[in-house]
């Protein structure tokens, strides 16, 4: 234990104070802390706003660098920068609401949805590669997935009338039991991690990479 408060302890002290301010009013009646915890959460909004600006700066700088160095694929960076400026201006300038709606809702919204749609398609190959029966465990993994899929497909009920009942049973009992225990474990893990950080033992997330890494 260090006896003095150095530069390295400042982040840890901040973490301790803030997490206690969040936790204590959740359990104990302390009106003042309650107000403080909601107020702090509201104050995080402008901080997150600054972070978003920083993000924009990061993206533009990296791509500007790419263009100036004529790195591979630099013309694409011009496209990116143009889109960036266009959306920045259109969103902020008053009086451009029509253009904003067209650009954001009609065009960008649809492309976003298309990227999200890729997820579903990729899940097909993920299922194709991931559900290989090689042991009893993978057999359970695959079979439970297949049964629930058959029951979820509208056509499945026409083929096997009992499928929804089996699915409901799986979801209500074994699935719930498994998920519940996972949740309990995760909550315990979070508590352990939180205390580790509050005691100043786990400092990597605070930017301090000075722990012993195991040797091969």
């Amino acid at each position: 234990m260090t006896t003095f408060i150095g530069k390295r302890e400042i982040p840890v002290i901040i973490v301790v104070i803030l997490s206690l301010v969040m936790i204590i009013p959740f359990f104990i009646v302390v009106p003042a802390l309650n107000v403080a915890s909601t107020e702090i959460q509201r104050m995080l909004v402008p901080i997150a706003g600054f972070a978003l600006i920083l993000g924009g700066l990061n993206v533009t700088l990296r791509n500007a660098m790419k263009i100036s160095k004529r790195n591979k694929g630099w013309p694409f960076s011009i496209v990116l920068l143009a889109t960036f400026i266009f959306f920045l201006v259109v969103t902020l300038t008053p009086g451009l609401e029509m253009l904003y709606t067209t650009a954001y809702v009609t065009v960008l919204g649809k492309v976003n949805e298309a990227i999200m749609a890729l997820i579903a398609v990729f899940m097909a190959t993920m299922a194709y590669r991931g559900f290989k029966i090689k042991s009893f465990e993978t057999c359970l993994f695959t079979l439970s997935c297949l049964i629930v899929m058959i029951a979820n497909a509208p056509i499945g009920e026409a083929v096997w009338a009992g499928a929804p009942d089996v699915r409901n049973w799986i979801m209500d009992y074994p699935n719930m039991a498994g998920m519940r225990a996972l949740n309990i474990g995760i909550a315990l893990g979070i508590i352990a991690y939180g205390i580790r950080t509050m005691l100043g033992r786990e400092r990597i997330a605070l930017g301090d990479v000075e722990v012993k890494v195991k040797k091969e």
């Binding site: 993000g55 991931g130 995760i186 315990l188 991690y193 990597i204 000075e210």
Partner: protein, 259 residues
Amino acid sequence: MNLVISGRVADFVLFLIFCGTILALTLQAGRGKRFELKKRLPALDAISEAIGRAVEMGRPVHYTPGGNPLHGVRGTHIQMGLVICGHVARICARLGAKLMVSVATAEQIPIAEEIYRGAFVAESRPEVQPDVRFYGAGDPSFGAGCLGTIFRERAAVNMIIGGSGSDFPIVAEGAFRAGAFQIGGNANVFMIPLVVAACDYTLIGEELFAAGAMLSEDATQLAGIVANDISKVFIVAVILLGVVLMTAGAPIVLQLLKL
């Protein structure tokens, strides 16, 4: 006068028990008691192995802690992702691998750069500039950006450890197509099934939180994991006791938990 908010008495007592166990064991470890974990997580051994292979192939390593705000509902998952990122960065620095870190939310950028720089400095390679990439706020742009990066840079290893959300399948598929070895870690119950289906090695649920302590090999951190094991035995005991009493017609434990 009520001191503890009504309806949260049981929560508070349980919270104190769990925290107390962890604190007690951590103090013991601080006094020099050794704690050892017997169970190995294969995914952790796979990390340095995979990075070694990436160096042999001369291809980069891609790491992402996933996309959620640090202070949000799954903030600790991301923080854990950053912690493991620190360990991964050190291994990369030691073995001489090129590391790319993609972050999904903007407030992770500065701290990820700090961790990246710190890890390379700690392994006496201060000349390496942090390679932290950000692709705009939002799952679609993060997914698309990651996909492009992994594919164009031909990453040999892809690690998605932390709290990735719906962008996970896109990143995982991109990595598969680029022929990358995948290590996934997640504590988001909705995403764990996909992680298990897609990755070669996985850290699911509590394993994610234990992994940081295991990688550090710090006795005081390991003590927390051991303490959690004691808490688990306690929880199972509470459940079993409750069930026995309930079956005998006395729902005492249930009433206590609802306090």
